[in-house]
Symmetry: C2
């Protein structure tokens, strides 16, 4: 083999490759953002309550506020307390106040009798003989007490957490920002989807699929290109991408061909940490940093680029967004059929996993060649067949990463 | 009990309530949308391939295009074929063409020898003695063949599906639109989160939490209010909301109090299908249609409104967005501890479910009162304890609905 044909980059293991990414990636600097925009962010502060919630003893039902120990057969209804402005009622034995859910309990009252258990007629109400003190009353601080840690730093903000922020009066919070990702398509053979490819050409699909993968995480993607395969065009595109994004993804241009210019340009502009990884699909996966910005050189085959996205880019983006748990949970599943595997690389096969008799069973989604995006359609799992093991027999167990919520469409 | 205190609305079962919603809700009229905006939509057409992919036999590796049956010891390299414009090479025995991944196979060649297995020197290349016809060649149509059903109607468009649309040259597709939801906070007791509540007042949190729940599904939410508790203000707000959204959510104002005005106004403007459901939390849940637009009157307690969202609004929104599978999968889990339950209603308890020794075990997230949003923080499941059964003992099984991806933050 002559010099031209040997890659300068050693093939490193999946584990080594991830370790190099992990060293280069860190959470983005925290920012304060308004309440309306916080959904999906990771909280970067401890949220402590400075007030009770409810702030006052409140009725849990529509009904009558009474004195529990009162033994009167009928009580005079001295007025009505809405949720809202507190009225100056004072409930004494022999009296009651009509009260609405959430309304502050009037002075003197210590229990609520729901409408369904009461009968009001001509300004007087009858209630059951025995009423327990505190019945249907939400004590002050029942939901949240002053000093409670409401949300801990590191909490992902979903709908209930957004509600809690509003409840304690926060109109903004300190969070990790969500990364912006530049997605660059490269290759002279690429034409936009709306164009009919000439001889030797194909349509750009990777920049659309990768941008969608970024957006699936809730983050912003900026598509760039297709960029033509000249050093100058690629260098300029990478420099612009790095200047305007928290991460850059390129696709294609990282194999061993004479036109695979991405690696030399990344070497020139920054540091290439690795250029080949013992995984299938995805062996030419490249990782660099340019001016502190992580750049993934993803392979050009559509499946390879999405599988590399799942295994490297997604956890890296989650770390940047402040997640502590950056990988999906794994699950041992049994193979419904035999799978061929050569032990030189960690292989990721696309599969449909179903539950049967309390066990998980996996079936591969047809031809697994790297160009066949259809192998990802309907797949809900990536099976990991590690380097070092050979073929897997039917009934044997392998590790599965669930890549879709099981409920999709 | 006198007339004022009796609800006009019978308490119906969860099942009956859902059936009434299901009758009133249908998928939104399909629309054509551009490629860049399709992520997360459900496809409303069958996508059939009109071309092969790859469109030509292509190299799967960087290497040399050769005639497999050629027995020459060395072959003359007559040129280089990039991915991109097809060159007019004709490979014959004794010759080879340097070729890049994805490039069209030159005429005459029927196999590719990867760089790693070849040695080129002074314009001549040596390759292994035995080369299999078709080696490292991707035949035309290997990934997608003309006439293939690429994506079926009803497919949820994720990243691979977006890539496939681009691959087959689609710049737009027919999809179900994503619903826009108006979220209305009602109640004189409400102040915006940035304001300090006066006596008897609390901050509006529900409109923020419910808007976030809508956005979590990927749909647009418009917050309205807080609207004051007068007939006129509420009527106007509901009319405006209905005119500008595919669904309206109100929160609060649906109990039995004299100020619970939502139901009468919905009766006046449209049809109230039910006004009470045998569920806990969420008994006052109300469902109406106004000018064909579904309106959910959600209870005012924060947990009640989010649990009703999960059980009624989310599946309704998914149906409107074209999903066929509108409910989350359920899973039998075992209780780590005893749970009290009164058989009159279906109860939804917030829980953390973990896997232990191959079984799922559930633990309730503290006090389950309807105001305590904290009971949803960290919860990954809603346990369903159906009407008709009593207390559940430790070790017994109940149904769980997983409400968060298990991986959150």
């Amino acid at each position: 083999m002559n010099a031209m044909n040997a890659s300068r980059y050693p093939v490193i293991s999946m584990q080594e490759a991830w370790e190099q990414v992990a060293v280069a990636i860190r959470p983005l600097p925290v920012v304060t953002r308004p309440l309306d925009t916080l959904l999906g962010h990771v909280l970067a502060e401890d949220l402590v309550a400075h007030e009770n919630m409810p702030p006052f003893p409140a009725s849990a039902m529509d009904g009558y506020a009474v004195v529990a120990a009162d033994r009167a057969e009928e009580r005079v209804v001295i007025g009505e307390q809405d949720a809202g402005i507190r009225q100056p009622f004072h409930v004494q034995p022999g009296t009651a106040v009509r009260i609405m859910t959430g309304a502050p309990l009037p002075d003197g009252a210590d229990a609520v009798v729901p409408f369904e258990q009461a009968m009001e007629r001509e300004g007087r109400v009858r209630v059951p003989a025995s009423v327990k003190p505190g019945a249907f009353v939400r004590p002050a601080g029942q939901d949240i007490a002053t000093g409670d840690l409401v949300l801990a730093k590191g909490t992902l903000l979903g709908a209930p957490e957004i509600g809690l922020l509003a409840t304690v009066g926060r109109t903004e919070a300190l969070v990790y920002p969500q990364p912006t990702v530049a997605v660059m398509a490269t290759g002279d053979e690429l034409v936009p989807p709306g164009q009919t490819p000439g001889p030797g050409q194909i349509r750009d699909s990777n920049s659309y699929a990768l941008a969608a993968a970024v957006q699936t995480l809730g983050y912003t993607a900026r598509r760039i290109g297709p960029v033509t395969d000249t050093e100058q065009a690629l260098r300029q595109a990478i420099q612009e991408a790095v200047a305007g994004a928290d991460m850059v993804l390129t696709s294609g241009g990282v194999s061993m061909g004479t036109r695979d210019l991405i690696k030399p340009i990344l070497e020139e502009l920054g540091t290439v940490h690795f250029g080949r990884v013992a995984i299938k699909p995805g062996k030419p996966l490249t990782f660099a940093t340019v001016q502190g910005v992580p750049v993934f050189g993803l392979p050009g085959f559509p499946v390879s680029s999405l599988v590399c996205f799942e295994n490297f880019v997604r956890p890296a983006l989650r770390r940047m967004a402040g997640y502590r748990q950056i990988r999906r949970p794994e699950q041992l599943v049994r193979m419904s059929h035999a799978v061929r595997h050569t032990p030189d690389r960690t292989e990721f096969q696309r599969a449909i996993v179903i539950q049967r008799d309390g066990e998980y069973w996996a079936e591969i989604t047809g031809n697994q060649v790297s160009g066949r995006l259809l192998s990802l359609v309907g797949a809900n799992a990536l099976l990991t067949i590690p380097a070092g093991v050979g073929d897997v027999a039917a009934g044997e167990s392998v590790n599965a990463i669930f890549i879709n919520q099981p409920e999709a469409s």
